[in-house]
């Protein structure tokens, strides 16, 4: 029995190790190639065992303002977007837990229905561009399809229902606290786990979003890090072409385009890699809550 179990454990480990290697291999390839000299990449292709290490690509990133600028745009958008959407999501979800609220059923339905039916890309695109004129404004990165979604409302609502005892809120009301005070001073402080969950998911969405930029942004000053990477994916020389000729005129021709775009990809991944260990618990929580009630 013990031997049989040992055999089974070995199989489990073996399969999971193979899966982990498959997951990590391309990421390792990207990291290592970003630190290889451009000439080696051209000559030998992307490799796990580089002939030599070379950090020219990273040096260029630090010298070149436009990468910093994109990074800055993404950080601003992620930060603002996450805060605003946490606020909007928690306020609406909290309202939907108030039992005697007139119209609660209708409001819940209106939110839920957006999960089942949508107008799709063409009408949204027409609306945002012709009615709200958000093309080439920072709003395009913050608002369309990003700010608030029904799934987050549902998991937040079920958190409030299961974790905030109504008795506390009632006693605060009797003490004369108004509803806004109750929400901001009592409900929110008791809700840090769900705020961490949706906060991380929102931050991830904003950090990784490239579609809004694809649809609505053509202005070079509003290109975030993902959009920059996207431009470089289809056009290796994008950065060299968009560089201000006067600023780095000396060696635009020698820019290591191939390794540089990998280096930017690495730099674009790093914030999420840093945050992941701290938020993994909450992230996983958010993913499992969805399963309990679709």
């Amino acid at each position: 029995m013990v031997r049989k179990d040992l055999g089974f454990q070995t199989i489990c480990h073996l399969v999971l190790i193979i899966m982990s290697v498959l997951v990590l291999f391309p990421i390792a390839l990207l990291f290592i190639s970003s630190m290889s000299p451009e000439s080696d990449i051209i000559k030998y292709g992307y490799s796990l065992v580089p002939k030599s290490f070379d950090f020219t690509a990273y040096k260029y990133i630090f010298k070149e303002g436009s990468v910093f600028h994109s990074y800055f745009i993404t950080i601003i958008v992620t930060f603002t977007g996450t805060i605003v959407s946490i606020l909007i999501t928690t306020m609406l979800s909290y309202t939907l837990t108030v039992k005697e609220l007139p119209g609660r059923g209708i409001l819940s339905f209106l939110v839920l229905f957006t999960m089942l039916f949508s107008g799709g890309l063409v009408p949204s695109y027409m609306m945002w561009t012709t009615l709200f004129h958000i093309k080439n404004t920072i709003w395009a990165l913050l608002v369309p399809n990003m700010l608030c979604n029904a799934f987050h409302i549902m998991i937040t609502r079920s958190f409030f229902q299961n974790n905030i005892p109504p008795a506390i809120l009632e006693s605060a009301r009797i003490d004369g606290m108004n509803e806004f005070g109750i929400f901001f001073k009592m409900v929110l402080p008791l809700s840090t786990p769900i705020i961490a969950t949706i906060g991380f998911m929102k931050a991830l969405m904003y950090w990784n979003d490239w579609t809004n930029s694809l649809y609505y942004i053509t202005d070079k000053n509003l290109v975030g890090i993902q959009a920059l990477l996207n431009n470089m994916l289809t056009n290796v020389k994008y950065l060299a072409q968009s560089m201000d000729a006067s600023s780095v005129a000396t060696d635009v021709a020698n820019i290591p385009s191939l390794s540089m775009r990998l280096a930017i990809a690495v730099v674009g991944m790093i914030p999420m890699i840093i945050l992941y260990p701290f938020f993994q618990k909450y992230y996983m929580k958010g993913l499992t809550v969805g399963a309990v009630k679709g």
């Binding site: 992307y46 306020m91 063409v122 009408p123 409302i153 990477l229 990809a265």
Partner: protein, 307 residues
Amino acid sequence: MKKKNLSSRLKKYWPFYIMALPGLIYFFINCYIPMSGLILAFEKYSVSGGIFGSKKIGLQNFKFLFSNADAWIMTRNTLLYNLTFIVLGLVISIMTAFLLHELKSSLSRKVYQTVILFPSLLSVIIVSYLVNAILAGDTGFINNHILIPLGLEPVSFYSEKKWWPFILTFVHFWQMTGTSCILYLANISAIDTSLYEAASIDGAGRWQSFTKITIPCIVPTIITLTILAVGKIFNSDFGLFYQVPMNSGAIIDVTQTIDTYVYRGLLNTSNLGMTAAAGFYQSVVGFCLVFFTNMLVKKISKENAMF
């Protein structure tokens, strides 16, 4: 009497409506106005007429759309990819969850889980870079380090159709297995362990307790997730099908889905009506599918229905 009652209730609850307002306004703008914009599918759009004022032309757009081979190709691709993802996904994520659950050491479970979940944090753009690093014709890993050393002809993946169904399926599971197996893992972990003990006393082997205990216990989750997936069977991950193949024209027959068609159509505004018709087709058929699968589930087991 009742009216007065309502108005006094409204007076008491006004702060809640104020708190709900930003979210509701957002849903109204982001979701409900575009729904009304579906009318574009029945119009010949003109800039002067706008969304609601353009000339109504009935089903003309749909006629054009379906008289075209594109409609068949994109529907076929969308459905086949999604069916593959659903069926294969069940097997892969349940097996992974089962293996993780069976591990004795909780530390190694945590390590594997962290690793397998990691790709879900990456944007499709980064994933495209990873795929490109492996497949690229000139600098890619497969060509330079596997095919050429073995003396085989290098393959130019971005222009050969036959590879892409496998590549896209692999990339999908590479990125999504972590998140989908977590759901099942949470479910399997919640199963009462005394069931397994009783079964092993009765002489059930590992495979038997898996098929007779584990699977029946997670059936509700399987059903819920499958309904959700069937409801989205007309949708596709735009990034996966547009960005990962790098918008390559040579392989469009096997990478075009309804979402990529709609986006490509949007780039060419002269055909807006037909694009809107494709979007309408996707929204409406998708909604009907959710509705009917839900109805079906309601008949079979009421508590698993979504609404």
